[in-house]
Symmetry: C2
C-alpha cells in the first residue's frame, strides 16, 4: 500500500491541500496529514482542518511520497520550519517522490532539492525556484524524476492525479480522473 | 457585505465544499460553514473540518445564499435532515440564491424547489432531478434564475465563481478566477 505524507501549515491553501488528499485517498493511497500544529490548523481562507498527526510524530522513512501544498502565509510558515526543510531533504535524498504546488516549490528551493531540476511555481514567483538552481517551466504540472511541481488551485487536480499515477499507476489515476470529472491532462 | 451559508454534512465531498468556501471568501463574501454536527464533521475522504456554527444556530433570513455541496454519503445525510430541507425551501421561497453541486441537486429535488427549473447533477443521477420536476442539462454549471447547479469535483471552481459573480459581480469573480489560475468559464 502506497503511503503519502501531506504537510499542513497555518495559512495552507485549502483547495490545493484538500484536492491532493481527496484524490490520493480515492486512489487507494494511505494519506497522513501532518500538522505543523498538533490539534487544528487554519487555512489561508479560514477553513479549520484537524491533522491526522503532529509533524514531530511522523518520520519520512515510513512514507513513499511527501506533498507540500501552497498558500500564503502557509509557504512562509513552511520555509521557516527546520523540521520541514529537513524532511524535504530527507525525502529527496532517499529518492522518494517530492511534490509541491503553488508557492511551495519555493520551500523546496530553500531545502536545496531543486538544483538543475525542471520545475514550476505560482506565476510571478519564478525567481524563487531559479535562485535555488531550478529550471523554471510554465506547464501546469512539471515532472522531473522524483520531483512533481504545479502552479495553483486550478491545477491541483491534475497535480494530484500525477502523484497518484506515480504511486499506484496510470489505470487507477485514470479511473479517479473520470470519477472526479477532470479533463484529461495535456502532456 | 454578501453572506453565504455552506452546509457541512458527514460524508461531504471535500474538494467541492472547500473550493466554494475558498473562492467565496477570496471574493470578499462572508461565508458561514454550518455543520450538521456541531464540533467536527468528517468528509467522504476522511478530512475533518471544524464548522463555524452548528446548523441549529443559523437562520436563512441572515444570508443571501445557500450552498449545498455533494459527496457520498454526504448527500444522503442532507436529504434525510428535515432542517436542511426546510432551509432549502425557505431560501428558494424567499428568492435567495440556492446552489448545489454533484449529488446535492437530489436534495434540492427532495425539497421541491426544482419544479420546471433547468439544472444539472452528477452523471448517472439524472433521474433524481427529473423526479422532482427539474429539466436536466448536461452543462458543467447551469443557472436558472436564483438556482445554480453543477456536476462534480472538477467543476467546483467554475460553480463557485458563478456564485461569486451573482453575489458580488463579474469584476470581482473575474479577478478571483485569474488569481486561482482557473480557465475562463465556457458559456
Amino acid at each position: 500500500m502506497a503511503e503519502a505524507l501531506v504537510l499542513l501549515a497555518p495559512g495552507f491553501e485549502e483547495i490545493e491541500t484538500v484536492a491532493v488528499i481527496d484524490v490520493l485517498r480515492r486512489s487507494g493511497i494511505t494519506v497522513t496529514i501532518a500538522g505543523l500544529l498538533p490539534d487544528m490548523v487554519e487555512g489561508a481562507h479560514g477553513i479549520k482542518i484537524i491533522p491526522d498527526k503532529a509533524i514531530e510524530k511522523v518520520q519520512m522513512k515510513d512514507f513513499d511520497a511527501l506533498v507540500v501544498p501552497g498558500g500564503n502565509p502557509g509557504y512562509k510558515n513552511l520555509r521557516r520550519d527546520e523540521r520541514v526543510l529537513e524532511m524535504i531533504k530527507d525525502a529527496s535524498d532517499s529518492g522518494k517522490l517530492v511534490a509541491a504546488i503553488c508557492a511551495a516549490p519555493a520551500v523546496l528551493s530553500d531545502a536545496g532539492v531543486l538544483k538543475n531540476r525542471k520545475c514550476t511555481i505560482y506565476p510571478g514567483m519564478e525567481s524563487e525556484v531559479e535562485n535555488g538552481g531550478g529550471e523554471f517551466l510554465e506547464d501546469s504540472v512539471v515532472v522531473d524524476g522524483n520531483l512533481i511541481t504545479s502552479r495553483g488551485p486550478a491545477t491541483a487536480l491534475h497535480f494530484a492525479l500525477k502523484i497518484a499515477e506515480r504511486l499506484v499507476g496510470k489505470e487507477i489515476a485514470e479511473a479517479v480522473r473520470k470519477k472526479t470529472l477532470t479533463e484529461p491532462i495535456m502532456e
